[in-house]
């Protein structure tokens, strides 16, 4: 089973490399290769932004802008690591730049997820709010670590910060999340009288 998985993975990586080579060559076939490459990685980037922003429309816009930036800087891709990781690095830096540019960061972070068909659990609502209240500097490493299983070194490379900073931001993010959730649950208990 594991062997089959590895073979599929290697096959996908080979195909990715071929597509990148073709895209770099340019021309009509290059354009097609680029389109295929972007389509293959679209959902990974969209999922990442969805977790980061909790807003599908914003996540779509950020994903599109990330793709455009990736195409413009394709020659800078050195083939180290997966293409999706490179896209996530571009997207993270773009998102941080945008937040920095906007003085009213609430425009981006303040939006809420639209109500899904399934009623979310109370703890999910709490964690959503707590995650949104985390500053982007802490939220990005936490999402990369927890949902994408990045190592400290990988997060440091994505955000262009030292590994020690990643470590401290992650610990601080977890501490902040725990404190907020404890506070909220204490507030709920107080309100309900339990």
């Amino acid at each position: 089973m594991g062997e089959v998985e590895i073979r599929i993975k290697t096959g996908a990586q080979l195909r990715e490399k071929e597509l990148i080579k073709a895209a770099l060559a340019g021309g009509k076939s290059g354009e097609e290769a680029l389109a295929a490459l972007l389509q293959a990685n679209y959902r990974i980037v969209l999922g990442y932004f969805l977790k980061l922003t909790q807003d599908p429309e914003l996540a779509k816009d950020l994903t599109q802008e990330t793709m455009v930036r990736a195409i413009k800087n394709l020659r800078k891709y050195r083939g180290e690591g997966k293409f999706s990781s490179w896209l996530i690095a571009i997207g993270s830096n773009f998102y941080r730049d945008e937040l920095r540019k906007q003085k009213t960061a609430e425009k981006i972070t303040g939006r809420q997820l639209p109500a899904s068909a399934k009623q979310p659990a109370a703890e999910a609502v709490d964690i959503k709010r707590a995650l949104l209240e985390l500053p982007a500097e802490k939220r990005i490493p936490l999402i990369l670590k927890y949902y994408h299983d990045y190592s400290y070194q990988e997060i440091a490379a994505v955000l262009k910060i030292p590994v020690g900073t990643v470590r401290s931001r992650l610990h601080s993010a977890v501490r902040q999340l725990r404190e907020q959730l404890v506070e909220e649950s204490a507030g709920t208990h107080r309100r309900t009288g339990y």
Binding site: G26, E31, E32, L34, A35, A36, L38, Q39, Y42, R43, L46, G47, L50, K51, Q54, P56, K60, Q64, M67, V68, I71, K72, L113, S116, K118, P120, A121, E123, A124, D126, I127, K128, L131, K145, Y146, Y147, S151, Y152, Q153, V163, R167, L170, H171, V174, R175, L177, R178, L181
Partner: protein
């Protein structure tokens, strides 16, 4: 009685264990890796109480993601075409600016040389050109090597 000086550095163990010595010394990288693994373990345990909530949020996001369609190939081809066209025009623009800057610098340089010659500074100009003629081959020969070494070191 005089108190012991706390600033004094602790003495090395005079009886090192079997792991001591050149063979027993661990590399800095090894220690960093070990510390990193230990730290990741600490983080994992700190995240344990948050795990159910984070997993629920992850599942919810996956559900929303499943409801969002992936655009067709034409959409991505359109993005690629537009971005490549933008990149091409940006490249042309920067090439034009580069060419203009080169021409402006060249004109300024030759004008200054001409001005010096007209002002009667023949000898300084001749000495300057002599130095350039001597040094330029050296610079051309060694600068790429230095740059390559820097790249390799990086």
């Amino acid at each position: 009685m005089r108190k012991p000086d706390k600033r004094q550095k602790p003495q090395k163990n005079p009886f090192p264990g079997p792991g001591a010595g050149p063979k027993g010394q661990s590399s800095g990288h090894g220690r960093i890796k070990c510390a990193s693994a230990h730290d990741e373990e600490k983080l994992r345990s700190a995240l344990t109480p948050l795990k159910p909530a984070l997993d629920a949020f992850g599942e919810e996001t996956e559900e929303i993601l499943a409801g969002l369609p992936t655009p067709n190939n034409a959409y991505f081809a359109g993005i690629a075409r537009e971005a490549l066209a933008g990149r091409e025009s940006a490249r042309k623009g920067s090439a034009f600016i580069e060419a203009m800057t080169f021409i402006a610098v060249a004109i300024a340089y030759f004008s200054s040389v001409l001005w010096f010659l007209q002002a009667g500074y023949f000898l300084p100009v001749a000495v300057y050109y002599g130095i350039v003629a001597l040094c330029l081959p050296t610079v051309i020969l060694f600068v790429p090597e230095v740059r390559q070494r820097e790249v390799n070191e990086r």
